[in-house]
């Protein structure tokens, strides 16, 4: 590679520094919102009381305060961070491998599949003989159904190649299949069960607990090193498929790997919380607006943006309805539209 002329190199360094700073600032804002999330909740505990509960530990003498801090707010925050980061990462991956700004973790039918699995569990919960406690059945089936959808798209990709059109069409077929299966479930469900299915689909952090945090967190941690390996390859793919291939990249293998990681991240994120919309669509756009196409910064930026959107929505939901919190999925859906518009309108030309 020929040496770049010095002014160009300086400009590049300055831009990289700017972008690095942007990610850092985003991370600090996220930390601030995380703190805010811990401090808001229907019990209206004062920051002082909360601080005491945190210091007293999970076995603190004030049982109500200890439970609220250690068993309710903290796992909800962790779950929000994990789910937001997973969906942000999965969204960016999907948009990269499909070369489509409209793609999200749910484009290839994963959410419809998760919804079908959840509906199956909510409806026939006790009929399915699985060695699981009842409350784990819904996440388990949602996870399994998402993997089933992945397998279907995967089979098509094996047979017909991984061109974005093929993946999208296979994904849409899978999505319609699971959506109709889910509609059938809803049609057969009694009113109370129907309400449960519909509200599962909205997505909520209220049922977060440490088991869920551990499972989803482990999936995220397992996926991270796999992603790091492909940072350069993914960045090259953004130059276009032909360019990437000319650089010696096995585009098909890369797409398949990224597709599997996306599926895993999405399944891990939505099985416990329900399909939280818009995060996976908007976070990648925010990330690109901050740091451009380089996935070395783009992936962390997407993860931070995803977590930030979800935690901000969680805080908003808790502030808006003091008593019973509005499901966070509804807030992200409502707030997502103006955010998407803002991203589009502030985007620099070209």
């Amino acid at each position: 590679m020929t040496a770049l002329p010095v002014p160009a190199l300086d400009r590049w360094r300055a831009r990289a520094a700017r972008q690095g700073a942007a990610v850092l600032i985003a991370a600090l804002v996220l930390a601030a919102f995380a703190l805010l999330d811990l401090m808001t909740g229907p019990s209206g505990m004062t920051p002082g009381a909360l601080w005491h509960a945190a210091l007293a530990g999970p076995e603190g003498a004030d049982r109500a305060a200890a439970t609220i801090f250690w068993q309710i707010r903290l796992p909800q925050l962790c779950m929000g961070l994990i789910v937001g980061a997973s969906l942000g990462l999965a969204g960016l991956l999907m948009q990269t491998i499909l070369a489509n700004p409209l793609a999200s973790p749910f484009t290839l039918g994963f959410s419809a599949a998760a919804g079908f699995g959840a509906a199956l569990a909510i409806m026939g919960g006790t009929l399915i003989p699985l060695p699981l406690p009842g409350w784990l059945l819904t996440p388990a089936l949602a996870f399994a159904a998402t993997l089933a959808a992945t397998a279907l798209v995967w089979l098509v990709a094996r047979a017909r190649g991984t061109a974005p059109e093929t993946l999208v069409l296979a994904g849409i077929a899978v999505m319609f299949f699971f959506q109709s299966a889910q509609s059938l479930m809803q049609f057969m469900a009694s009113p109370e069960v129907l309400a449960q299915i519909v509200f599962w689909l909205f997505g909520s952090l209220l049922k977060a607990n440490w088991v869920a945090v551990t499972v989803s967190g482990t999936i995220l941690l397992v996926c991270l090193p796999l992603l790091v390996r492909d940072l350069w390859a993914l960045t090259s793919l953004r130059l276009g498929e032909a360019h990437a291939a000319s650089l010696g990249l096995d585009v098909a293998a890369l797409r398949r790997r990224a597709f599997l990681i996306t599926a895993l991240l999405t399944a891990g994120a939505v099985s416990f919380t329900g399909t939280i919309g818009f995060v996976g669509l908007i976070a990648p756009h925010v990330a690109r607006a901050l740091v451009g196409e380089d996935h070395r910064l783009g992936l962390p930026a997407a993860a931070i943006a995803g977590a930030l959107i979800l935690i901000a929505a969680s805080v908003t939901g808790k502030v808006l309805s003091q008593g019973a919190a509005i499901p966070v999925g509804i807030v992200t859906a409502v707030a997502g539209v103006p955010m998407l518009l803002a991203v589009i309108l502030t985007k620099k030309g070209g």
Binding site: G41, P42, S43, G44, M45, R63, A64, A66, T67, I68, Q71, I72, R73, P133, G134, W135, L136, F187, M188, A189, S190, P191, E192, A195, Q196, V198, F199, W200, F202, S204, L206, K207, N209, W210, V211, G274, G323, A324, A325, I326, P327
Partner: protein
């Protein structure tokens, strides 16, 4: 088998209660969970079955409620909510801990209201799952699940006795259980004596107005009550749980009795509105409109005016024997000639609840 052990446990604890009125007591709730009650709770978080709770505790129970799941009461049964908030205005301002059905149940809000015990329905504890229940218990709050939704005699009686044991009102609970059991036995005895009625019955949720056919029930809810009293439900085998029958099928089935299930819905001008604060005079023309549906004038049920309005909120509660007897009376008029379900409902409220059932709960098309 499990029920039998549950029953023995409760019976045992009840037998011991008079001597140990305020001492430690182990109760097995309707989830089969063992709950230790140290002393009669002074602060209660109430999830559902508000009327059954008040029937067991008596009026002083209302003052003990420190938080509730508001939507199933205030939104599902606005008329009933208005009747109770008129007597207990404090209910209006109690903290709301959300609704399990729409995933807004907030364990934190429940804990923040600092109750001694959380009395929830089994569908609420199922929705919370083990981790949610544990969160509440870890905050030092006893969780007691009861279940009238199952709509079985055993679980109705058991739920009532558990409520009595928890709230320190075992005698009241026992009397209520005995009353309910006696009414159910009386209904069954009259039906057995009358023999099979062979009458075909159609029930419709009269919410959408006559222009659109509403849901009927193939299993559970009203279908369960119809099965209990030996009616021939035309939706059986056609509708899995709930859903609309085709209008053609209803006409072809030629039902002998039609039940229109009404409630206190808001913004439903064409619905049959029944319940607290609703008048029969207003319900009659709505029911008559249903009877003029295409092809309905010639149905046996319409020709003989066997068209009934029945309160949809009357299921899954201790007063539901009234509605079973209403349907039974429609099927076996002679066997129930001396039974007046509407009057029995008034008697029930007078004996057990702090409000009067002012409104229309069962009616017949004139």
């Amino acid at each position: 088998m499990k029920l039998a052990t549950l029953a023995t446990t409760v019976a045992l604890s009840l037998a011991l209660t008079p001597a140990l009125a305020l001492a430690h007591e182990m109760i097995t709730d309707l989830d089969g969970r063992s709950v230790m009650i140290h002393e009669t709770p002074k602060r209660v978080a109430l999830g559902f079955y508000y009327e059954d709770y008040l029937a067991v505790t008596g009026p002083e129970g209302a003052a003990k409620i420190v938080s509730l799941s508001r939507a199933p009461w205030a939104d599902w049964r606005p008329g009933q909510w208005a009747a109770y908030t008129a007597v207990f205005p404090a209910l209006e301002t109690l903290p709301d801990f959300g609704n399990a059905d729409d995933n807004t149940f907030s364990v934190e809000a429940l804990i923040a209201s600092k109750p001694d015990v959380a009395i929830l329905s089994t569908w609420q504890t199922a929705s919370l799952g083990e981790p949610g229940v544990k969160q509440i218990e870890d905050a030092g709050i006893a969780v007691v699940a009861i279940d009238y939704n199952a709509q079985t005699l055993e679980r109705h009686l058991l739920s009532t006795r558990v409520l009595g044991a928890v709230m320190g009102q075992p005698e009241r609970a026992e009397a209520l259980a005995a009353m309910y059991e006696a009414k159910t036995a009386d209904t069954a005895a009259r039906i057995a004596k009358a023999g099979p009625s062979g009458k075909k019955i159609y029930v419709e949720l009269a919410q959408k107005g006559p222009g659109e056919i509403g849901n009927t029930y193939g299993k559970g809810m009203w279908a369960g009550v119809i099965d209990l009293v030996g009616g021939e439900n035309i939706a059986k085998g056609q509708i899995e749980n709930w859903g609309p029958l085709s209008p053609e099928y209803v006409i072809a089935a030629q039902p002998d009795v039609i039940l229109l299930a009404g409630s206190e819905w808001l913004n439903k001008p064409e619905a049959v509105l029944l319940g607290f604060g609703k008048s029969d005079a207003a319900a009659q023309p709505k029911m008559a409109a249903y009877a003029t549906r295409a092809g309905w004038a010639d149905l046996p049920a319409v020709k003989s005016r066997e068209v009934y309005g029945i309160y949809h909120g009357g299921n899954r509660t201790l007063s539901d024997f009234v509605y079973a007897r209403t349907i039974a009376k429609a099927l076996y008029p002679e066997a129930f000639a001396d039974v007046d379900p509407a009057a029995e409902l008034v008697d029930y409220y007078k004996a057990w609840l702090p409000v009067a059932p002012d409104g229309t709960f069962v009616t017949k098309l004139q």
